[in-house]
């Protein structure tokens, strides 16, 4: 029976035809994929765990790029890609337990997420992306800290000393407002924590007291958040000369807010982002470009490449500092500040 469908060479064409005929006559719909998976111990799919509502992934350009890369890798391998529903509000990890997959890709979830813990308990290979290196599973990511450090150095060389920051959510709880030093350090999102830490390091080295720098957090990740975050920072300290955002989406929102206030970018205010999305490129945004598609593809390849599973691998992709039209020397000139009070 099974052979008739899957192994035509194991039996005579005549028998095969007869088997298939009677199968059709009896209304047999073909081998059941689930039973096959049970027997062969292969599900033919990899699971993707996202921290957000599934639908969020389709709104964030960086996430879409990652998804595209991952889908590409899966397609090459003829594997399905299962989007696992993981509502961050409910702590319901049943969906992780229920997922019939040969492996998991975990993309940018908080490091204390119960879904992540549930994935790690499953006896299947796993790749984490934009997460801390767990040492036990494969990882792919970028040097968020170093990239942001470099961006900060650029701003510092332009003469910026009084800056503000708008960042994405730092933990699972909603905190739309200013961020304490403690919260920055304890951030559960690896990516955000490292970007902030890169900034803090660079500016501290330049003699700036980082604890005095206004850092505003936004739970939702969209341009509206970028705008309101920028407003909150500018209200707190109208004297800042640069607004550093930890994503392009936030930066684009910040630019809208700057325009609303009549601030010219970069003459009156420098704005920077992170990611290198298309819309940012079109706006001439100064940012760090990261290879989101490659990240997805690398994650997929790592997961599907059975060889060398001996010890966990860690892949770091390279980023590129893009100096666009939204960064420039602070109003009044760099020199004034260099030698000022």
């Amino acid at each position: 029976m099974s052979n008739a469908y899957n192994r035509p060479d194991q039996l005579s064409p005549e028998l095969r035809r007869r088997v298939l005929d009677t199968a059709r006559r009896l209304g047999y719909p073909g081998p059941d994929p689930v039973a096959r998976s049970l027997r062969t111990r292969k599900a033919g799919a990899v699971g993707l765990l996202l921290t957000e509502n599934l639908s969020y992934a389709f709104r964030d350009p960086a996430a879409i790029g990652f998804l595209e890369g991952l889908a590409l890798a899966c397609e090459d391998a003829g594997t399905g890609l299962l989007l696992v529903p993981a509502n961050p509000e409910r702590e319901d990890v049943a969906s992780v337990h229920r997922a019939g997959v040969d492996g998991f890709v975990v993309y940018s979830v908080p490091d204390d997420d119960p879904h992540l813990a549930a994935v790690l308990e499953r006896p299947v290979p796993t790749v984490v992306c934009d997460q801390p290196d767990l040492g036990t599973v494969d990882r792919v990511g970028i040097d968020d800290r170093g990239a942001m450090y470099e961006l900060a150095k650029h701003l510092i060389s332009l003469g910026h000393r009084r800056v503000g920051v708008v960042c994405m959510r730092l933990a699972r709880d909603r905190n739309d407002g200013f961020v304490t030093a403690d919260r920055q350090h304890a951030a559960h999102f690896h990516v955000q924590r490292n970007r902030l830490s890169g900034l803090a390091e660079a500016f501290s080295e330049a003699g700036v007291d980082w604890s005095q720098v206004p850092v505003v957090e936004r739970f939702d990740h969209n341009t509206a958040s970028g705008a309101s975050g920028a407003a909150q920072v500018l209200d707190k300290d109208p004297q800042i000369t640069a607004l550093i955002c930890t994503s392009d989406v936030l930066a684009l929102g910040a630019m809208t807010e700057a325009a609303r206030r009549g601030l010219r970018v970069p003459h009156d205010l420098t704005v920077t982002g992170f990611d290198g999305i298309r819309a940012g490129e079109e706006a001439g945004l100064t940012t760090v470009r990261q290879p989101v598609l490659e990240k997805g593809r690398a994650a997929g390849k790592l997961l599907l490449d059975a060889s060398e599973r001996s010890r966990p691998r860690s892949v770091n992709l390279s980023t590129e500092l893009i100096i666009g039209k939204t960064s420039g020397p602070p109003r009044g000139g760099a020199e004034e500040r260099w030698f000022g009070p």
Copy 2:
């Protein structure tokens, strides 16, 4: 055993603790989801079949919107969403057979696609979207023909009689060039066929000989195709006053090409799209807006709503004609043409 995990009320807490303890000690990783699926006859996932390389879906804004809506519906139901790899080049339907799912959503594939045929043979509920009504499975879509008819009427009322068309692929074979009347009629993509037919009907009613209208087809769906398609139409007949594109993405590309030629839109050339994507909105594109997200959500709901499975349902969502800044009367004025030779 099973009860210890899933039915805590069926046994005493003491035994449950003991069972779970020894399970942990033996390194038992929890119930196997595949075995459970086999027994319960529920896979906990729905499959999505797309005609294109999986990764294409993440480049097309309309497809992303659909995906988002579908993901939303799945999330609400706690169901996974399996992206089934269906390489349109190879006729390999094994991926469809291998997919362990409780149902399929089929989105905009050619009506002669072998993958679609394979899905219909599987004994699971199916919803087709942007496809002809098969009568045997649920369907969700819009009135492509009527919407395009209305758009055409708008152009006709402005005075346009000499027009050109750029459309998406009409069949599985690549044909980057002009389209015969035969090919238009026999188009295997339901959506494109109906949009063209709506145009043909409206312009025929206005006395235009549709067989003389240049219609150019592009296999790849991106702005570059829109630009080159527009170029091909304009080269063939530089006198046309309106360029009708069957998608916003193509229309945006056409606008680029118009600008390259020094044609002002809409003064020298009217350009229209279809879909109502964000980028088109920002460009002030005249287009038909369709509720892509709602389409995805409706497809998911239809599939996951077990009730009233008696006879196939068909859902038509409504569209809206958006008159933007890219359409206007033809150069020389409408009247001149109305009463001209």
